[in-house]
Amino acid sequence: MPTTQQSARSSKVRALFCASVLLALISQTACRPAGQQADLRIINGSEPESLDPAIITSLADSRIVKCLFEGLTRLNPKTARAEPALAAGWQISPDGLVYTFDLRTNAVWSDGRPVVAEDVVWSWRRVLDPMTAADYAGQLYFVKNAEAYNTGQTNGLTGKRFVASDVGVYAPDEHTVRVELVGPTAFFLDLCAFPTLAVVPRHWIEQYGDRWLLKPGLPVNGTYRLENWRLNDRVRIRANPLHWAADEVRSKVVDFIPMSSPATAMNLFVSGQADIIWDKSLIPSSLMDVLRKKPYCHTFGYLGSYFFRFNVTRKPFDDLRVRKALALSIDKRRIVENITKAGEQLANHFVPPGTADYESPEGLAFDPEAARRLLAEAGFPDGEGFPSFTYLMNNAPVDAQVSVELQAMWAKELGVKMEIRQAEWKVYLSEQSKLNFDLSRSSWIGDYNDANTFLDLFMSNNGNNRTGWRNERYDALIREANQQTDVARRRGLLQQAEQMLIRDELIVAPIYFYAGVNFFDPEKIEGIHFNLLDEHPVYAIKKKTK
């Protein structure tokens, strides 16, 4: 039998053993594998769903993907317009239908293999392959037969389904890519910089299938390599020494910190554990009036619209006068001054100001007198007999405040009663798609700097329409505009379409244009330039040396 002393000693040994196991566990798990601090730490919005250019859909994901995979063009850090990237130059046919890109001869994957024209062709066909199920495959529908292949259509001439080789992208030689378009797409070069059209490593994907991104040694052709990606922790990237412009890269190691809590983002930023906050949703809007006065808060015009949709299939919103009455009685100034407070511009039209080669027609401003008159004409004088209706929204604090404000405005100006239906995000999306709403809060961020990215949403067959409105003339105007090479004529056609959207038919009621918000200390960080797309290539950013 053990003596009391022996048992005391053995229990001490056990305790010591347990403590050392716990310490080892803590150091293994709680301490970062790569202990080195990054040169730049960016709070980037929610956790990336993927880093596969064909799969991603969010801005946060695309910021990282653009560092890893490059397309034929890239966006300039200052102007956010297309400039040569993988393609050193290009020629456009006089009718605007054929683009010939000359690839750089010194572009290589980070494993040393050359990036060739066939890689571009394969990457684009992969996006369009129905089996890839790429949400953003529509970005390539401007290429000949791309839509037909992606949606599994049958070729009327041959009676067979369209296949990958029917898509209008070819590699005549190792360093030339030839693209045939459906129409002269004015923004095609900007589109080539969109992450969906980036080039991916065919040899790697064919070897590893769905798991290709997470295999160590992932070959990339962007300015950075993927070093580490742990969900809800960080994505660490390191400068790619084999990139053709490796000497332009100003921060060698960069951490993207995924974040969904504005409070935590602010804590990290003010305590110096993060250098930049990039995602607007991570700035607490309730503190915006205080934060805007800080030297690290930067706001600027942004290519995004905040609006609500009418469900025109439901009474009484099938009546244009009713829709107009509701739109005319919104005092937008109260919303941007009291709720959003980040310097947003009032929106009477849908396409944000500053969009390239475009100027919107005049929309409807605040005019409660005219609103009451229209409502009376529609058979509801002073709101009498107007049925109670619902405003569908997701559960974001700002949206809740805006909807309460709208509710109060409509009750005061028109005497109508609105009920707010706050839904969880997925329910909100599902209900919106099924047209299960009267009015629905909405927003749209442009994918590229062209009015088309806003206006084509409301074409009859566009899945983003979600209003029940179908108009052949509108569809024809957008189609015709995208066949134009003449900038002024194209602008005119797009203006006519927008006029239908915001005035003649009033399918959507714009409220404000988003402001871009970036947090960084200009004394410490350089290389961030403000532009409409909130586009800030990471390679151009660095911390200033003291």
Binding site: L22, L25, I26, S27, Q28, T29, A30, C31, R32, G35, E47, E49, S50, L51, D52, I55, T57, P130, M131, A133, A134, D135, Y136, A137, G138, Y141, E147, N150, T151, G152, D210, R211, L213, L214, R230, L231, N232, D233, R234, I257, M259, S261, A263, T264, N267, L268, V270, S271, Q273, E424, W425, K426, V427, L429, S430, E431, S443, N462, G463, N464
Partner: protein, 304 residues
């Protein structure tokens, strides 16, 4: 034999739990691939569903998933499409376990002595102060405690990092935030247990035999008084081991607690059902351990 039987019983129980979870999650409106931006064509969504077997009848989907689980593969995450659920759990679980373990140690390390002292010093100032602290710990939720700790210890005094992981120092504030509530509960349970035992006849008998007070309290009273804490320890351990959404979110800790909530919001079916299953396993095993601990601590309990 007892534990063998109990373990065997877990299997049908887990099957039922996973089946119910698998069915319930599908009843929520919306799906994993609903996005603000609709896919370019309905064909894309159809392909996406086919790729993840969501176009098949529910029993078939369940069978496919269960087949994977039996092979140790929980399937792909429907939200984080480059990752599979097994990898996500393997990456996050150790962190959650460490944080949960630390919070458990904190809860017991603070709660048991606090409860013990407040009981022994009943009616004295130690009792009032300790009791107030325990009540505060229980009443103030982590959602409030966390930001207050961060504001003072992280932002103002810069004693600890405000979020993320990296060094053991990063775990201090999350541990306290997570453990404080449970420390309060443990302190209350311990105090009640001690007060009940100190009036028991065997304590009076021991006192009358002249057993030193220290031995009475530590050797005799404590062992019996701690039993309610042990009972509570099972679900407590399970709760802590599966992680806390609030604490992991607030301190940006890459554990699995965040996923339990986010996967249900994202309709990440595979992830959610896998986590529910994991939670069930942890809870059932923790309860089994509690029964085992009872057998060791209380001679009246025999596990046959």
């Amino acid at each position: 034999m007892y534990f063998f039987r109990r373990t065997l019983f877990l299997i049908p129980l887990l099957l039922v739990i996973s089946m119910v979870a698998f069915t319930l999650v599908r009843m929520a409106p919306g799906g994993p691939f609903d996005k603000e931006r609709a896919p370019a064509s309905p064909e894309i969504e159809r392909n996406l569903k086919a790729k993840y077997h969501l176009d098949k009848p529910l029993p078939v989907q369940y069978a496919i998933w269960l087949g994977g689980v039996l092979r140790g593969d929980f399937g792909p995450s429907l939200k984080y499409r480059s990752h599979n659920v097994t990898d996500i759990i393997a990456s996050g679980l150790p962190i959650t376990l460490v944080l949960g373990g630390l919070a458990f140690a904190f809860a017991l390390g603070v709660g048991i002595p606090l409860g013990f002292i407040t009981a022994v010093k009943k009616g004295h100032w130690e009792d009032h102060v300790g009791g107030t602290l325990a009540i505060l710990g229980i009443c103030i939720p982590a959602l409030v405690v966390g930001p207050i700790l961060v504001m003072f210890f992280g932002v103002r005094w810069k004693l600890f990092p405000v979020a993320l992981i990296g060094t053991p120092m990063h775990l201090v504030l999350p541990t306290v935030t997570l453990g404080l509530f449970f420390a309060g509960r443990v302190a209350r349970l311990m105090r009640e247990g001690m007060l009940g035992v100190l009036d028991a006849e065997f304590i009076t008998a021991a006192r009358s035999k002249g057993v030193p007070e220290r031995d009475i309290l530590l050797r005799h009273a404590f062992r019996t008084a701690v039993l309610p804490v042990v009972s509570y320890g099972g679900p407590l351990l399970a709760d802590l081991m599966i992680g806390s959404f609030v604490v992991e979110q607030l301190f940006r800790i890459p554990g699995i607690g965040v996923f339990l909530v986010s996967s249900s919001l994202n309709r990440d079916y595979t992830m959610l059902v896998s986590l529910v299953l994991l939670y069930a396993v942890v809870l059932l095993v923790a309860n089994l351990l509690v029964d085992f601990a009872y057998g060791l601590l209380d001679p009246r309990v025999k596990l046959a």
